[in-house]
Amino acid sequence: MNRQRTGFYFVLPWLIGFVLFTLFPLIAALYISFTEWSIIGNPVFIGAGNFVKIFKDPMFYESLWITVKYAIFAVPLTIATAFTVAVLLNNNLRLVGVFRTIYYMPAIVSGVAVAIVFKWVLDPNYGVINSFLAIFGIRGPNWLYDPNWVLPSYLVMAVWGASGGLLTYLVGLKDIPRELYESAEIDGAGTLRKIRHITIPMITPVIFYNLIMGLIAAFRKFTDAYILGGAGNQGTFYMVYLYDQAFSFYKMGYATALAWILFVIILTLTIIINVTRKYWVHT
């Protein structure tokens, strides 16, 4: 048996799948983005027409801006929350297993049900959050029903879901050599100084990973936004707009062009972050 060929045979199913479900659609996507096509009938080639239209489309800018704003706040908030929870859980406590399960939950429990529950939690009149605030005499905001409070509503959900990325931080914390802390203790460093000068620098590879993953997830946000929306169109994230263009209005060419723009944005951000890697990520 030829070992060369054997290895290739093992990989072959994936390769066939790649050609059928990625390469071919990718080439098709390139073509479709230069056409006007409502699925019925044949695509009409319009050159860069879709892109010209997109750059004149106020909803393109608005949905992109909503998504960018969300990413700017949600990604750092998520990283800070998950990191903090991980540091707290990285102690020798008896109930640590129970806590870990509770905090890890959002990684597994997601989708439409959670979005619906949050809509109810954030209900201005009968929701938990505003009722809790009312105990202290605070009149809570209208959350998803007030255009100015739509973004904060999504951030509340983002922070709740932040600890879904907990395990990556816990694994990172476990890998920090104990001796680093011990020698810092001999030098008389307190908890906060140890976190600042040892934990944070040593955990930067995990932060780097979560930064990239978090940004990609933020730009692809769909499920919550599709279910919840938000007053004044403020819940129309980029992917919701794209989905509507494709599957509510059947503008296949236009939506595919939007998808390419999303791809270019994600790729550019990933490259930029990768370039900065050598300045702040511990190796």
Binding site: R3, R5, T6, G7, F8, F10, W14, L15, G17, F18, L20, F21, T22, F24, P25, L26, I32, L88, N90, N91, N92, L93, L95, F99, T101, I102, Y103, A107, I108, V109, S110, G111, V112, A113, V114, I116, V117, W120, D123, Y126, S131, T168, V171, K174, P205, V206, F208, R220, F222, T223, Y226, I227, M239, L242, A246, F247, T256, A259, L262, V281
Partner: protein
Amino acid sequence: MGKKQAPGRIQSFALYAVLTLGSVAMLMPFFWMISTALKTESDIFTIPIKWIPQKIVFDNFTRAFEVVPILKYMFNTFVMAVLKIGGEVFVSALVAYGFARYQFKSKNVLFMILLATMMLPYEVTMIPTFIIWSNLGFSDSYVPLVLPAYFGSATFIFFLRMYFETFPRELEESAVIDGARPIHIFVRIFIPLSKAALMTIALWSFMGTWNDLLGQLIYINSPSKYTIQLGLASFSNMTGETLWGPLMAASFVALLPIIFLLLFAQRYFTEGIKMTGIKG
């Protein structure tokens, strides 16, 4: 790795306090969901709110089941997930094994392509793929959602490759001397040794199917074929703001299988993260 020393008494009290407070916040949405699901309509819409139902009733569950066939939707999702898992896990492992344990021409190029597809957002190929499936006559069907799994998933292949690479060489060498064929080495040696990792992949695959909305939204139209996500989404759309009790009851039922998984298979989720080996 040495165990950390236990924190001092005051410190651990503070830790418990903060962690408990956080846990309460984490669990609050679920508590609120269950509490609402068990309340009477008049208890749901009162100010100040009632944290705990005054009278526990199951009307919301019966009403939810009347309006939407939740169990049928769960069954549909379950069937789809099971159909997917077998193929996705087995084929991904097969491909990962090829990448991890064999040398062949163009292997590195192919693996680079695999990595690139992991970076490529699904959204770019989403529309052409949808058009292709519709032209093949597979609109309103599970086929477009299930069949691609039988060609492996790039992410799973990537993780399993790393996992298989950690196995010692002698493992296959002795089998090769005994004249075992490559596929037998894979099925009889590698698969049994990787049960935990494969379980993890299977769980991820299941979660992916259970929680996916976008893909199912695109491909499935008729209510009789709805999955749990689609069923909940349409329930939430049609009721608007009024039926909070039944909505919470339906959400609760939809989350139950996942919560069970979290409680009983937590080990495998943890395993999965170790497998990814994110250390930079």
